[in-house]
Subunit: 428 residues, 2 copies
Amino acid sequence: MTLKKLLDMKKESMNHLQQELLPFWLDRCKDEKNGGFITQFDKDGRDTGEDQKSLIAQTRTIYTMASAYRAGYGDERCADYAKFGVDFLLQKMWDSQYGGFFWTVNRKGDVQIDKKIGYGLSFCIYSLSEYTLATGDPTGLDYAEKVFDALQKYAVDTMYGGYFEMFERDWTLCGPSSGGGDRKTLDFHMHLMEALTTLYEASGKEVHRRKLEESIELLLYRIQHPVYRTGIPQFWRDWSVAPQIKFDIVWGWDRFTDDGVKSNAEDNTSYGHNVEFAWLFLHALKVLGKDWRAYEEVILAQFEHCLRDGIDWEYGGVYVEGSHSGGVYDREKEFWQQAEVLIGMLDACLHFDLEKYWPAYENVHRFVHDKMIHHKVGEWWPLTTRRGEPIWTHMSHSWKVNYHTVRAMVQSIQRLDRLIEKVSAHRS
Amino acid sequence: MTLKKLLDMKKESMNHLQQELLPFWLDRCKDEKNGGFITQFDKDGRDTGEDQKSLIAQTRTIYTMASAYRAGYGDERCADYAKFGVDFLLQKMWDSQYGGFFWTVNRKGDVQIDKKIGYGLSFCIYSLSEYTLATGDPTGLDYAEKVFDALQKYAVDTMYGGYFEMFERDWTLCGPSSGGGDRKTLDFHMHLMEALTTLYEASGKEVHRRKLEESIELLLYRIQHPVYRTGIPQFWRDWSVAPQIKFDIVWGWDRFTDDGVKSNAEDNTSYGHNVEFAWLFLHALKVLGKDWRAYEEVILAQFEHCLRDGIDWEYGGVYVEGSHSGGVYDREKEFWQQAEVLIGMLDACLHFDLEKYWPAYENVHRFVHDKMIHHKVGEWWPLTTRRGEPIWTHMSHSWKVNYHTVRAMVQSIQRLDRLIEKVSAHRS
């Protein structure tokens, strides 16, 4: 790996972010008529007209705009867009009767699904805190804290620890099985750690620090496999492993058999989630002012597992899922795992071993820029075959949007800069 | 045991409650000058002038007045006193900056110790909920819910479950060891169950029900000895047993060695706490609409352990503490254990075996009325020798007051009435 290669790759990422990704969103997501963001676009980037605004899509777009602005991109437009999104979120999606945000509304803002979903609420905390950090407007942090308070009151299991995830509008726990009320998930707890990191960064409050530290303990000692340290997707209330099933409320494309159960339901781990955890954890430790070396082993376990089983050295990119102990179950390529592994492998280069992890970064970088990005339009395909031929072709809908893609570019460029600095210093 | 004996004992209790206990308090506790209650009285019932109002004494007196009124005693005076106490509590002890109530103030209401102590806050929930149930004034429940919300936000350990207990004014966790920030206690969790029972009775809210059910699970599966099912006083954060130490913040007369550690620090259980748990648990199950028979074994374990080791068949009354597996460590007689065992043994008679448990009730009843009550003045001695000679002689101070004594009479009379009904029906 040469300095020139680093500089070229940074340039490629900058170009994608500034000439393709951000323009894609700035040109079409603002709903001037109703407020908030339109987030349903077909393969050509045309509005599909689907009449839905999801909590995830609204908050992720707020995060995208606020974080891009904080990182120095998009001029004042990104800040303006973020505020535009916050206004809609507070006016149309906040439940002033019971507290918390609704799960989906239509474009006008009429409530469609009034449930309170922990996963979505963690993105409220994340995006609203980022908005305050980016703009200085205290309204974001104010509502982020309200959501934090509601989760502490309603979602925590004071017997076994951790958080329940699925609630009715009035915060009564949803029913069992596909209702999700009897399960705890990696997904929610990981995104809660991500959210509490930014909340604590914005507020500096001890209670936010304490709950962030506890969320880390939950991930390390409840959610990760005790031997392999890779993430287990679903648990019963008492943290015994639950077979991975499909919930009534979904936000992704996870593939299930017809009965809603995952193949290999009790031995399944996501390379993307594991590496995402590793870099989010490194970031959380930095915000907490803690030394990451105390957790070296568990962080390395994520990178190693992905390097060994998750990278497709033949066709490029990252596989979907596999076993904890070894072996791949699903070799297709989803967009978000590529995005998270870009950031994660750069962190592996920076913290551990540049020569060892660089090939994985370069592999995924090439797969993303050569196969995953639909350059003509500006966003990424959601799902491709192992070889990189698009399977699903929409550029965005309620559960895809821009958080993984824009964040991958913003965060990768920061890390490439640090690598460039490191390599330059070494040469001079 | 004859119907006549039951009627005589009820009469004796009624007489003590109406002619001695309630007049003791109604005649002297109201602080007309400053608001709130005066709760420091010497052996003759004279105000000692100690310039302190403790959270426990204020809330327990509110509970005493409200519960006596709800049970039909003291006419409107008890309701008026309860409101008088609530007014002071809200005006002088509520922390409008950080939420929660202060630990102690002086008689005028200036803050002395501004810490937030879980044990005291559970009595806020208990007494303020009882006040609303007794009087219909929604202010009580409103503040009980605020305290509940604060405990959920600040006190829960989301990693290991359960609640931390000792906090600084701003809710940062107190330091370790005698600071108490690294420990969890039976005392707080049991009184939390007691408080959440009355909170749920008053509010009917699902979240209060859920946390009450979880507090029961914590007591059954974390706090009780896994073999003997008797209560363990102190734990580390992860629920491993901690040696029982004295905290900086105290509210009782527990005896420690000079280094602040309890003799038999890791094998110590309180007969009074165990039987109090049993009857509070039966009451909680009733409020929850659950069948107590599902928990027969664990409830019986408390009564049996006390019957076998706790009752002093020679001099009467209940010992202080002993081993889980058998054997008594401390044979003195404290007032509150007598009070709780009166209620508990009547519940044992009603739910299990009248012939078996009646002698224990009768024993403690006689010891209380013959030795523990200072009839000339109206309240109970706080501590006596095994034989019933007073060791400490004050009638009340910040940590004694009236909750155990008045509640023991109110609750015993209700249970004696049910036994009278039962025995009469059997005879007719």
